[in-house]
Symmetry: C3
Subunit: 382 residues, 3 copies
Amino acid sequence: MHDAPDAAETAAMPGFSLGELAKALGARLEGDGGLRITGAAEPQDAGPDRIALAMKPEYAARLAEGRALAALLHDGADWRALGLRGALFVPRPRFAMAHLTRALDPGPDIAPGIHPTAVIDPSAEIGDGAAIGPLVVIGAAVRIGARARIAAHCSIGAGAEIGPDALLHAGVRLGARVRIGARFIAQPGAVIGGDGFSFVTPDKSAVEQMRETLGQVSIPPRAQGWTRIHSLGSVQIGDDVEIGANSTIDRGTIRDTEIGSGTRIDNLVHVGHNVRIGRDCMLCGQVGIAGSAVIGDRVVLGGQVGVNDNIHVGNDVIAAGGSDIYTNAPAGRVLMGSPAIRMEQQLETYKALRRLPRLLRRLEAAEKAARHKSVPKTGDND
Amino acid sequence: MHDAPDAAETAAMPGFSLGELAKALGARLEGDGGLRITGAAEPQDAGPDRIALAMKPEYAARLAEGRALAALLHDGADWRALGLRGALFVPRPRFAMAHLTRALDPGPDIAPGIHPTAVIDPSAEIGDGAAIGPLVVIGAAVRIGARARIAAHCSIGAGAEIGPDALLHAGVRLGARVRIGARFIAQPGAVIGGDGFSFVTPDKSAVEQMRETLGQVSIPPRAQGWTRIHSLGSVQIGDDVEIGANSTIDRGTIRDTEIGSGTRIDNLVHVGHNVRIGRDCMLCGQVGIAGSAVIGDRVVLGGQVGVNDNIHVGNDVIAAGGSDIYTNAPAGRVLMGSPAIRMEQQLETYKALRRLPRLLRRLEAAEKAARHKSVPKTGDND
Amino acid sequence: MHDAPDAAETAAMPGFSLGELAKALGARLEGDGGLRITGAAEPQDAGPDRIALAMKPEYAARLAEGRALAALLHDGADWRALGLRGALFVPRPRFAMAHLTRALDPGPDIAPGIHPTAVIDPSAEIGDGAAIGPLVVIGAAVRIGARARIAAHCSIGAGAEIGPDALLHAGVRLGARVRIGARFIAQPGAVIGGDGFSFVTPDKSAVEQMRETLGQVSIPPRAQGWTRIHSLGSVQIGDDVEIGANSTIDRGTIRDTEIGSGTRIDNLVHVGHNVRIGRDCMLCGQVGIAGSAVIGDRVVLGGQVGVNDNIHVGNDVIAAGGSDIYTNAPAGRVLMGSPAIRMEQQLETYKALRRLPRLLRRLEAAEKAARHKSVPKTGDND
C-alpha cells in the first residue's frame, strides 16, 4: 500500500538455517538445510530469505510469482519442480504454523529492567528478569512473577498478583487483588477487574417481573433509582490464558470471577461479574457473557455470541458466530441462531423460512379457492 | 485456583461489628452484635470474620461447609440451628446487598492529594479533597469537583467539568468540554467525548437511497469519498451516572449528546453522536445506540441490544438481550428479537418457527396427494 | 442539564464573518455578510453569534424560539420573514454541514512541539510541525509524518510509520511495524496492531469437524490445549482513514492486515487478523470482521454487523445493522438479517413470520376438521 521499504524487514528478526527451523518444527527436511531464513511469507510475496507457506497445491502454484528458495509444503509436493532449493514437510501443516511463527516472532520491544519513568509502589515485588516499560503504574503489595514483560502505560492495582512469564501489552488495566497464573498474555487495552454491573431497586423492578412472567409487566412505571451493589470479589485467572485487545473482565460481587487455565479470549469480549469459565475455552471477538453465567471446559463461542446471565453452558459446547444463548446448553451441543438451538435444527429452520413467503401465498390462494368453491355450495341442496 | 494466601485478605478492609453492620443495612440483628466482620463470602467459603450471604434456604444449607459465625439470612431461618452466633434479617435481601457491599468495599487505592507525576494545566481547578493519581493528564480550564478520585493514566480534555465525588478508574478518557454531574463513576478505559461518526458524500449515496427504498439501490456504484462532519457538540451527563469499562460515548454534532441522571451503562457499550438517554436507564454490556436515537426514562436494554439511528424508544421500555430495535418503541413495551417486537409475540413466533419444518413437510405431502388425486379427476366426467 | 455557564462558549472558538463562512461553504449569501459567527446551533438554541441550522421547514419554524441572526436555510426559505439578518443557501445541506463543522471545529488541544514528559526513542523520526502530547511513548525506529498531532498517553510500537497530518487522540495504541498513510485519525483508545486471535490444536479439533459437517461433531471430547500461532505480519492502512474509539485492528499472521484509503471505522469495531478491507468503506459501531475475511470497496456495514472468517464481501455491498454475514456476498447486494440475505427477501420473510402463528392455528384447525371428516369416510363405501 506504501512504497516505503518494508518496515518488517528493517526490524530485527532472529535468523535460522532451514535445518534449524526443521528441528524447531519437528519437520522433515529435504534439500539444502543451510539456507538462511529470516521470516515467513505467502508464496507470491516471498523473497529469497523467507520460507514460503505453501501447504496446499493452490498455494504452491503461486511460488513461481515469488522468489522463495525454501517452502513449507504439503506431503508429496515436488520441491525441485517448484524451483526450490529446500523444503520442509509436516504431518499437520496448521499445527506447524504455531511452531514456525513462534520461532520467527521478534517479540515485543520492551527493554529489560525497569524503565525510570515507571511508578512502582515500594511494597510491590517484581520477579527476576522482569521488563517494566515506560510510564507503567504498579500499586501497593503487587506481586509480579519472573520474566514478566509489561509494556508502556499499563496499570496494576493494589494487591494484584501475576505469575511468571506474563506479557502485558500497552495500556492493560489490572484491578486490585486480581490474581493471574503463569504465561499470561494481555493485548493492548484489556481491562481485568473493573467493577461488576449490578444494581438493585428498593422495590421489585419491572425487569424482575418481566423475567418471572416472560414479558407481562403490570408494575406501573415508577421512578425508583438503581442502587449499586459493590464488587467485593476480584478476578482469578489460571495458567496459559490470553485476553484480547480492549476486552473487559469484571470482578465478582462476593467471590471472584474465574477463568480457567488454557482459555483464550479475543478482542472486545465482555465477561460479566461472577462468571465462571472453564479450561481451554475459546471466546471469539465481541462475545458477551452476562453476570453469573457458568461456562464449562473446551467451550468455543464464535464472534458476537451472547450468553444470558445465570445460565450454564456445558463442556464442549460450540456456538456459531452471532448466536444468542438464552438457556442452559447441555455438554457437547453445537448451537446456532437467536435464540440458539441445535445447529442442524437451526439450518433446517432457516431453509424452511426461505420457503415461507411462497408457502403463505399458496395457502392463501388455496383458502380463497376453497371459500369461492364453498360459496355456491351454501345455496346447493346436496 | 492458586495456593498463594488470599490476596483479598491481605488488602486493608474496613472492619465492623455485626451490630454496626446491622445499623448500616437497616437490618434486624439477632444474636451476638459484637462479632467482628471484615468481609462477606458465600456460605461455603466464609471464614469466621466473614458474614455469609445465605438469603435463600439452598444457600443456608451450605453454611455447614464453611466456618461463618454470622450470616445474612432469609426471614424465618433458625440461625442457632445453622450453627451461627449471630444473624441479620432484611425484608428485601437483594437490596440489602447494596448496603452491605458498599460498607465492606475497601474502595480504590488512590492516594489523597495530587501525585507528583500528574500533568495538570495551571488553569485547571481541582476541588477540595480530590485525589489525583499518577500520570494523570488534565487540560486547560478543566473543573473537577470536590473529593473526586482520579486513577492513574486518566486524561481530561480542555474545558471539561466534573461534579463532586467523581470516581474515574484507570485510563478513562474525557474529551474537551464534556460536562458531568455529581457522583460520576467511570470504569477503566471508558471514553467519553470521542468524535461522532458522521460522514457525507458529495452526491446522494447508495445508503441514502437504500433507506428511502428499503433495499432497492439503483444508483450505479461510484467512487465518491466520505467527507467528515466534525463534532462541535460535546457530551452532557447528569448526576449519579456510571459508565462501564471501555464503553464509548460520542460527542454531538451541533448540540451535546445527553445522558440523564441515574442512568447506568455497562462495559463496551457504544452511544453514538446526538443520542439522548433519559433518567434511570440501564444499558447492559455491548449495547449499541446509533446516532441521534432518543431513549426515554427507566429504559432497560439487555446485553448486545442494538438501537437504530434516529428512532425513539419510549419510557419504561425493556428489551431482552440481543434484540435489534429498528423502529420506534412505545412507552412500556417489552421487546425481544431481531427485528424486535413485543416479547410475547416473539416467543409465540419462535414456537411456531420450531414447528415450521415439519409443517412444510406435511403440506408438501398433502399437496402431492391432492395433485395425485386431481390427475385422474381431469379425465373424470363428474 | 447544568446551570453552569456554557463551557462550549468559554472555549476558544475561531470566529468568522457570515461572508467568510459563505465562501468556506461554497454557499449563496443573502443579507448581512458582516455578521460575526463563532459557532453553530440548532434553531431553538442559537444565540446571536451562532449560525442556526435550519435546512428543513420544520427546523426553520423553531427559529423563533432562539435568538439567531443568521441561518443555513433550505432553498426558497424567506429569511427576512423568519426574523434573520442574513442567511446561507446550499444545494446539498447535508454536505454543507461537513464544511461548516470543519470551519468551526476548535480542534484538539495539543500544544505544538514535544511535551517534556513524552518518552521518545532517540532513533524515532518526528516530522516537522508535529505536536506530541504529555506522556506519549514512541518506540525505536518509528517515523511520524509532518504536522502529526498525538495526544496524551498514546503509545507507538517500534518500527511503526505514520504519514503526514495524523491526529491520534488520547490513549491510542499502535503496535510494532504498523504502517499508516496520510491524514489518519484515531479516536481515543483505538488499538491498531494487537496480535491476531489464531490458535491450533495438535489434532483436528471439534470446531474443524463442525465446520466440515455443519454441526455433526463425532470427535469425542478430549483435553487438547490451544497452541498459539504468532502474528508475524502487521497492519497496513491507506490514506484518509479514521478508526473509532476503542476499536481494535489485529495484525496479520504472515502478511499484513490491510485497510484501504478513505475507509471509516466507528467505535468498538473488531477487525481480525489477515482481513483485507477495500477503499471508502464505512463500518459502523461494534461491527466485527473475523479473520481473513475480504471486504471490497465502498462497502457499508451497519452497527453490530458480523462477518464470518474467510468469506468475501463484494464491492458496494450494504448490510443493515445487526446482520450476520455467514457466506460470500456478491457485489452490490443489499443485505439484512441473521443469516443475512437480500434485504427485500428478508423483509418479506419477516412479514410472513408475523403471520406464521395464526397460520399454524388455522392449519391445525383445518387438519383436525379434515381428520374429523375423514373418520366417518373410512366407513363409507364410495
